[in-house]
Symmetry: C2
Subunit: 137 residues, 2 copies
Amino acid sequence: MAFLLARANAFSLARANAVLQPHGLKVRSYSVLALAVSGVRPTQRDLSEFLRLDPSQIVALIDGLESCGLVSREPDPNDRRANVVIATDAGREAWAAARESVSLAEVGFFGAFSDQDRERLTAMLRALAMAPDDASD
Amino acid sequence: MAFLLARANAFSLARANAVLQPHGLKVRSYSVLALAVSGVRPTQRDLSEFLRLDPSQIVALIDGLESCGLVSREPDPNDRRANVVIATDAGREAWAAARESVSLAEVGFFGAFSDQDRERLTAMLRALAMAPDDASD
DNA sequence: TATTGTTATACTCTATAACTATA
DNA sequence: TATAGTTATAGAGTATAACAATA
């Protein structure tokens, strides 16, 4: 079961990365861009927690997106230590285009299932995606 | 959906690795050991194809298992280029113990679902785990 | 004293090319 | 010539600790 989960994820990830490549993005940068576009105005710490990545990895991701002109760092008015990551106009456009491609790819990947099966799969994956935290064997 | 799949897999993988650590194994080495124990008498090339790893990675994995005395390389009688990977007695014991732990962990991880739901999940993951190959977007 | 972003470092993983011995 | 195993190497990805500015 865990083996199937790993393999299904590997295909899903590979396909998503392949689809995002023409947009100059990967799943990681796409996820950051998605949150920057969303209007949440996340700090780098927020991104770190949501994406479960180390803060130092967020730095590199945002460096990349910023050098492409897709996002910018703004000082957080509430906390001068923190940066808020927001999408530029170019970032919003790039994300809309990328999202279109990702949606089409997901239809191709999960589209063979019925609506009900997709709902079931989503519900089960969501349950599995919850942190156990009590991973005390 | 792909996001949930990735996160569910991350938890599954982390839990499996945590469970295998006391046995001195990781999911990779556990998978190799499982095939070595199975009686299939796989060549390194077989392992490479089944686990979808590069042959050079198989070398390192088997080096590790061999240095622990869990598997050994035997010349393939049908092809003197090839090695057949077989488990030692210690390897069989280690695998049986590890498998027990993994089974318990899978019950903990997937056990909240009904039998029918687990069947559905397995079937869907199996479908997703099939190579698309026509990944022509 | 604790936290945010940053840098540096090391360690694992992955991908690739070359080499040998066999086929 | 093609293939099995091996080696070496370079690139990702990941984890960790330390630091300056701020809370």
